[in-house]
């Protein structure tokens, strides 16, 4: 029975392959690649659909989970099958230096002063600003944790904690919990002693510390009560509160913000359309719509000014929230990610 099925499938696949091989190459529609999930759903409503309507074209979508190597190999393979990609800040800087992105035409986008500093670069324009911070379930802790120091307070808040597996954010949070001031954070991290101190701090949590890798996991962990608190993305928390009526709280003090950008892969066959899409997505109106759908910070200052207050208060780029945030130091992580990941893995393995 299964063999027959497999054979049939094989037949189908080979037929498909033949069909593909014999069809003359058609021009691919503009392909936009986001990070999937609720965020991309929002982007579809706020950006992709209106853009496609306005231009009378089709937009293809794909999603990915990041990874500079993915983009690098796509570009070096020749014509990439993605055009417009939402990348993290480090990928932006690395790829811009390596020349795997097209340079943007800011004439089409607008005056650079209209955008937050992190949203402006030769190769990319901001897509959204997100915060990574402490989150907990207020139904479990009416008087919940307020800082990373509380995250480490096993007496007051017993139970497991979850952090994103990897050195990024983890080292920041550990040092913040250990009393390092926000302004001095990356200075401390630049010294070997600072890194040692962070790992020592992590040791304190012992077996109470577990790790997540996919963005959906912390929500699951909180919802099931498996952990008392976790690091999470602010947008995910707001989204699950809205959609599932949860009472999760995102703690703004000590959150780390990072800005994703839109880039066009070098050699894109839809470069012009991609540029148009970037210009469209950088307009205030669609950005405001985006903020209504999901609580991520907006690159356009004009848009930020137009967002109603009750939405704005949940955005990472809200001045009040920003005042308590640490902007992720991209340069630090570009230099140190590989060596710290190696060390992080070694540390995990030794535990």
């Amino acid at each position: 029975m299964t063999t027959k099925y497999a054979l049939r499938r094989l037949g189908f696949v080979s037929a498909a392959v033949v069909a593909i091989a014999t069809t003359p190459a058609l021009a691919r529609d503009l392909t936009i690649v986001g990070w999937g999930g609720a965020t991309q759903d929002a982007q579809r409503e706020a950006y992709f659909k209106p853009f496609a309507e306005k231009e009378g074209t089709k937009v293809l979508e794909d999603s990915w989970d990041g990874g500079y190597g993915v983009l690098q190999s796509k570009v070096s393979a020749g014509t990439p099958n993605w055009d417009l990609v939402q990348v993290e800040a480090e990928e932006l800087v690395l790829g811009c230096a390596d020349g795997i992105y097209e340079k943007l035409d800011w004439e089409q986008i607008g005056p650079k002063e209209d955008f937050l500093d992190e949203s402006v670069s030769d190769c990319g324009v901001g897509a959204l600003t997100s915060s990574t911070g402490l989150a907990y379930d207020s139904e479990k802790w009416p008087d919940g944790p307020k800082s990373w120091a509380d995250f480490w307070d096993l007496k007051k808040y017993p139970g497991k904690r979850a952090l994103r597996k990897g050195p990024k954010y983890t080292i920041e949070f550990a040092l913040l919990a250990d009393g390092v001031k926000r302004e001095e954070l990356y200075e401390v991290m630049s010294t070997p002693e600072g890194i040692d101190r962070a790992f020592k701090k992590l040791e304190e949590l012992g077996p109470n510390l577990i790790w997540w890798e996919a963005g959906a996991q912390p929500i699951q962990l909180l919802a099931s009560g498996e952990v008392a608190m976790t690091a999470s993305y602010n947008g995910r928390i707001a989204n699950v509160n809205k959609k599932e009526g949860k009472k999760f709280v995102f703690v703004w003090p000590g959150n780390v913000t990072a800005t994703d950008s839109w880039v066009i892969l070098k050699g894109s066959e839809n470069k012009a359309a991609a540029m148009k899409a970037i210009a469209f997505m950088s307009q205030p109106e669609p950005e405001v719509k985006m903020a209504e759908l999901i609580t991520y910070g907006l690159p356009s200052k004009k848009a930020a000014a137009m967002v109603p207050a009750e939405i704005s208060k949940d955005l990472p780029t809200d001045p009040k929230n920003l005042a308590e945030a640490v902007p992720l130091n991209i340069e630090f992580w570009i230099d140190n990610n590989e060596s710290l990941t190696k060390r992080f893995n070694a540390w995990l393995a030794a535990r």
């Binding site: 230096a97 597996k165 590989e338 990941t341 060390r343 070694a346 393995a349």
Partner: protein, 394 residues
Amino acid sequence: MTARLWNRKTRAALLILPLALFIGIFFVWPLGIMVKQSVLDDAVLHLLPRTTEAIAGWDRTAPPTEAMQAALIADLRAADDEKAVGDMVRRLNSAQSGYRTLMTKTLSAVAKPETGPLLTDVDKRWAQPAFWIAIADALEPMTDRYLLAAVDLERNKAGEIAGLPDGASANRTIFIRTFWIAAVVTFFCVLIGYPYALLTAASTGITRTILLTAVLLPLWTSLLVRTAAWFILLQEQGLINGFLLSMGAISSPLPLIFNRTGVVIAMTHVLLPLMVLPIYSVLLTIPTNLMPAATSLGAHPLRAFLHVLLPLSLRGVISGALLVFMTAVGYYITPALVGGAGDQMISSVIAFYSTQTANWSMASALGIVLLVITLILYVVYVQLSGRTSVNGRM
């Protein structure tokens, strides 16, 4: 006569041509590339010919000479291939953290004609020998540093092979862990899969279909659905713990997920079909009258099983075990999702180097070490199982 022979040979050759092409393109060639990637080290050499000359006489401890700095500036000015520069920077940064930002700054500085002749004016890090040593170490076209690093070794200052300092890297631990987890999973797959295959082969009609479907199900469901299912089952407030607690069998929840137990349970679940199916198909080829024959000859059913069914089905167990083990060795998403901190497997390290940092050399080196160890284990396994299953060949 000879013409016919030739004809037949050509026909045979034509028949296997697709196979040969396939193996060549999808196996030998990538393997060759992987080997090349893991030892090739010309990203820096290509772009810095002048620096290579200038650095030749340098003693690796003194501050960089003016000539070296001028040569580097000249080389960087001459470099016009952005991607090649990117490769060089990535190579240097993986040897010496900080090169990324240093190079970005330096490259934009040397783009201006007034910069020079001293790089130390651009960034004072250029005064540190470490950054120049990184260049000096990257000038041999071939290197064993990646292969060494893959097993936590390096060349010390004297050029001898030495272990990396403690806490710097854990590849060896992770390799051992990978093979250990694979072995444990294989063991449980045999333990559960063999009786399961027996049962399936012995059943008929709808029962057999249900049993086969049940074991194939994990292959048909997506990773996310499976993960969610494990989560519901295994977590502290999960079904299994809930059941055991309510039965009074345990007083506090067992830790079943985010640890090795969870990894083994989940991987055994996914890989079980790879064990059951080969055993099942071998069992089907065993004539049904052999067991009655054995009992009629005076063998207790258990001894009949040990002397007849087991040796005859060992072929299936051996290939099933091989399939499960080899597949398990390559796993990393499942352990990442249901495992704990100490359950990372080597493929996740490889994935990190390839998809995250684009350090193809390191990824290739780890891949080759994995391949070599796996091949060695395979040879040992074939030797061992060959000896025990001599009787199992039909």
